[in-house]
Amino acid sequence: MTPILELRNVTRYFGSGRDRVTAVDSISLDIEPGEIVCLVGESGCGKSTTGRMIVGLLPPSDGQILYQGQDIAAMDKADYQQYRRAVQIIHQDPYASLNPTQTVRQMIMTPLLRHQSQRSAQNGSGGGRRSRRRDAERRAAELLEIVDLTPVAEFLDKYPHQLSGGQRQRVSVARALTVEPKFIVADEAVSMVDVSIRVSLLNMLSRLKEEFDVTFLFITHDLALAKYFAWEGRITVMYLGRIVEEGPTPRLITDSRHPYTQALLGAVPEADPELAKKKTHIELRSAEIPSLLNLPAGCTFHPRCPYIAEGECDTMVPPLERISEGGSVACPVRMSEPTQLI
């Protein structure tokens, strides 16, 4: 099967000259239709930049992004438009992602009407303005029901500031669904929502995957959430612009190989006092993350890595290599060492 989305050596710089920062450094990633992939990493690792490039909000500085096997940079206008709508994004901040001047109705109806008219123009079938509007209204109501904003009539004429954080995120999802996307990038979509309702948002997203065949790229810094959401999918771990490890979620969580992944897994605070006491952490050699302006040579993790092999890690960029347990690891030194967190 052709991957729905493929990144080939995608690189993104910001700034120029001495201030040039490499946010994403030659990453490659295949995502199959219907898959759930989590992109995990700390701030500044390039995960959001990757997400925004996938959605077409930011062009890559180098490398290619392929949608259904086609390079988006080389698409003609019609294909590009189709790709544009097929790939949607859910943002992190529920207070910034909705226009404060519009009601829920306006936010959902605008894309429906715009793209509906283009569709009908293509099909040659017209229908009056009125009936088109009625269709759009019906669809808007359906979408709000899908994202559990019921009773629908109660929400349609609300402005964003009249909604709670969780409800706003649901509106964002409904808005993205107006264009019947095939692929959704959820960029920290639940991290600003209260703990008690996070899970219901995640469960709603999982349902969309089942019902509408949507492929998800879930970007998060929270490994526990990634594990929960992508248990049947894959996790990709990024550090300073590069992918350091990826693999099926259960393998990555229970048997991670890259020292950075292990450090992350060990560092996550656990909401269970006994687990918290029992868990072992990897002690890093430095607590500070290097500046993107001045990245270390070789493996970017080597200044912090406790397993550093001098002369190797600090000179060579380790390649991402497949391992038999599933997925791949960019650490020749440790890739064959199984781990035990407890």
Binding site: G56, A96, R114, A141, V152, L156
Partner: protein, 302 residues
């Protein structure tokens, strides 16, 4: 069922929703007391200047026996050095001032909105170019520039004066609006609209501009006050040969003819100054209410 509920909400006709919008607007206007008073005074000044002349004719008759008299019922603000009624001059002298200020503010606001939004929204070299020009013009003191220009080109039409001022007054406003556009551009809802492929026009006009409205109307009001200042100054320097009754011309005449040094001429000199001051003050006060009326959050919550 849900669809029916929506259909039911759709019964508002355009007239009804316009009426609702108007009511909301008035309520928000009245929310800030100072702003509301400013708003009422601005309306009063506009009515005075545009409807007043229909009722009160400009007094042009010289009356030697009535020079510099203090207010009476016949002459509510006294008379000038030729015995002409000051009140009639005030009523007839606002139209030009308001017209020129309005025109200048309109032009400078349009320039500022278009280029400020473009600069902030598109960014890149267009932004650098626009901002370089803006920064340079901003460092040139505008009033001396206007005065020098007025000396080179003789300004004999009010409209031309308004246009010239409009073409010079946009830099401060542009900067403010660009800052707005820049911060809006990075907001997630603009990105979402881009991802939904809603088109540049939709994004600028429907997503960004409504959120910039408070700044735009405030910019417009401030643009008017700049223009009032500048035209009064130009007239005062004698650079705008406009003879008809006009508050600025009244001040200039009082100055040139030495009226300000007469003890008796105080009504003559004070009337136009107070008129201009009230106009400026009320426009500035009005911005407080306008900000509220166009604030999306407040407007939406009604």
């Amino acid at each position: 069922m849900a669809a029916q509920a929506i259909a039911g909400e759709q019964t508002d006709s355009i007239l009804v929703s316009a009426w609702k919008g108007f009511r909301t607007g008035v309520r928000l206007l009245a929310y800030n007391r100072v702003g509301f008073i400013g708003f009422l005074v601005v309306i009063f000044m506009v009515l005075l200047s545009y409807v007043g002349p229909l009722l009160i004719e400009l007094d042009t008759k010289t009356k030697i026996d009535k020079i510099y008299i203090t207010p009476t019922i016949e002459h509510p603000l006294g008379t000038d050095h030729q015995g002409r009624d000051i009140w009639s001059q005030i009523v007839n002298g606002g139209r030009d001032v308001i017209y020129v200020a309005f025109l200048a503010a309109l032009i400078s606001t349009v320039i500022a909105v278009v280029f400020g939004t473009m600069s902030g929204f598109i960014g890149g070299w267009i932004d650098s170019a626009i901002m370089s020009v803006t920064d340079i013009i901003l460092t040139i003191p505008q009033f001396p520039l206007l005065a020098v220009l007025a000396a080179f080109i003789s300004l004999n039409s009010l409209t031309f004066l308004g246009i010239l001022m409009g073409l010079l007054n946009w830099p401060t406003l542009l900067r403010a609006l660009r800052a707005q556009a820049l911060s809006l551009k990075q907001r997630d809802f603009i990105e979402a609209a881009r991802a939904l492929d809603l088109g540049v026009w939709h994004i600028v006009l429907r997503e960004m501009v409504p959120n910039m409205m408070p700044y735009i109307v405030v910019s417009f009001a401030l643009g008017m006050t700049f223009a009032v200042y500048q035209q009064a100054g130009l007239v005062f320097l004698g650079l705008v040969p406009i003879s008809a009754g006009n508050w600025s011309v009244m001040i200039q005449l009082a100055w040139v003819r030495g009226a300000i040094f007469y003890k008796d001429s105080v009504w003559y000199i004070m009337a136009p100054i107070v008129a201009i001051a009230i106009l400026q003050l009320s426009i500035i006060s009005m911005t407080r209410s306008l900000e509220l009326v166009f604030n999306p959050r407040l407007r939406a919550s009604e």
